[in-house]
């Protein structure tokens, strides 16, 4: 016999909630110390002005001028070259920054990994949250989600929320499990329909340029750091594996887990939408 709605409502009505706290008081306190936030454009204008002033001041100092660095920009991801990580051999840079992707930036004063660095988000399934289905994910995005047919449909799909007014497109992470260690991720494919997603910080020698469908892509090999920006929160993550990044249209792809750049490119160029039979 199906569940009776009336009975369900009657039982639910007896649910014992904790007393509602004084949220109004908390909200009042949270709002009062802060002056009204300037609009985003105003904040951006101020930030640009401050950066320009700072850059002008720093450029006057030769030692600081030498520390100016450039970063790569591909799709929603920036890659900031940094000195070799501890224990990493310094080799000839594998890539020069193309003029089209070149952006000058002031090097951060602190080059060590912040203490809050954590492990690669997709190294194990325990690091992922927001499991969803292909159908639900596809229904939410305005472009066809794609997967590498040779790997089949992903074992799991995770939805990463980016909550920012006016920028609410979710990021979907397609995950294929390691057959030998099912709790670990063999391959992860991020599909990022955002103008900005994260900043990678990697040794210049670890970054190489490659092509996906004859478009520029970057292969970041070995350990590097990834800064994710979600709303107003920036979090540094330590990424231990290899990553291929490329962009197609307004979607940036981030493939994690391929052993070689050739394998990564092959997977990238094999991506296809899923069609129900």
């Amino acid at each position: 016999m199906p569940i009776d709605e009336q009975q369900l409502a009657e039982i639910a009505a007896t649910f014992s909630y904790p007393p509602t706290p004084d949220i109004a008081g908390r909200v009042q306190k949270a709002l009062q110390p802060r002056p009204a936030r300037p609009r985003r454009t105003q904040r951006l204008a101020w930030a640009v002005l401050v950066l320009l002033l700072l850059a002008s001041a720093l450029l006057a100092v030769p030692t600081v001028r030498a520390a100016l660095r450039e970063f790569f920009k591909i799709g929603a991801i920036r890659i900031l070259p940094e000195p070799a990580l501890p224990g990493e051999a310094t080799t000839t840079p594998a890539v020069t920054i193309p003029a089209a992707d070149r952006v000058t930036d002031v090097a951060p004063v602190e080059t060590q990994a912040p203490p809050s660095a954590t492990h690669l988000p997709t190294r194990t399934l325990l690091d992922l949250a927001g499991a969803t289905t292909w159908e639900a994910a596809q229904a939410e995005v305005g472009f066809p989600l794609r997967y590498p047919p040779e790997h089949g449909l992903p074992d799991e799909i995770y939805r990463q929320e980016v909550w920012d007014p006016g920028l609410e497109a979710p990021v979907f992470i397609l995950v294929w499990r390691d057959e030998d260690r099912p709790s670990e991720v063999a391959l992860a494919l991020y599909q990022i329909p955002l103008p900005y997603y994260g900043l990678k910080s990697a040794s210049l020698s670890a970054i190489s340029e490659t092509l996906v469908y004859e478009q520029r892509a970057y292969w970041v090999e070995g350990p590097h750091r990834l800064q994710l920006q979600t709303g107003e929160v920036a979090e540094w993550l330590f990424v231990a594996g290899n990553v291929l990044i490329w962009a197609e249209g307004e979607v940036t792809y981030r493939l994690e887990g391929a052993d070689t750049v050739a394998e990564a490119v092959r997977i990238a160029e094999s991506l296809a939408p899923h069609r129900d039979k």
Partner: protein, 214 residues
Amino acid sequence: MELSGKLHPEIDSGAEDEAQPAAREAALVAHARRGDEAAWTALVAAHQEPVFRLAYLMLGNGRETTAVAEDVAQEAFVRAYRNLDQFEDGRPLRPWLLAIAANLARNRRRSAGRYWAALRRWWQAERRERTVKAQSQNERDDAHLLWQALQRLSLAHQQALYLRYFLDMPEEEMAEVLDIAAGTVKSRLYRGRQALQAVLQEEFPLLYEEWQQR
């Protein structure tokens, strides 16, 4: 403060104006939009209970649920205040607030997903044994067990069932909270009840049998 309590007396007295609640709410929203924090505080006081309760239900059973639900509710009101320019004039405020709170609660659940994912296999392997133990307790609370059963459903089904049966929300208002068509609300509730029935039959058989006998 931009306004005195005379213009929006509920700030001072907390009195309910049964005659024109929608007009009063619209007036408070208009004042809040112009930076009147007292007007917003009055609106928070009026809506904090359903917002807190929905967050509590959606966050699931845990040691920190009450504290996290309080955080979520506070954050929902703060975000709503800072994004009031996106709120459509003339609409009821509660569905918008609940939608923001539900979104935040979902995010919190997802950030807690690392813990849940670790528990998932363990739970699936041992849930039957633990369920039987839980149900054998004399002090069993049917509503609490129902909540536990609901937590086995998808978040979409949970949210629909919480709004309809726990918060007693009309389907029209649910459609606004969930941002779906009224017809979709009905079908989501139907499928949610079906999913709930399957969970009850499989994992809460004693509760299910008791329901059938009522």
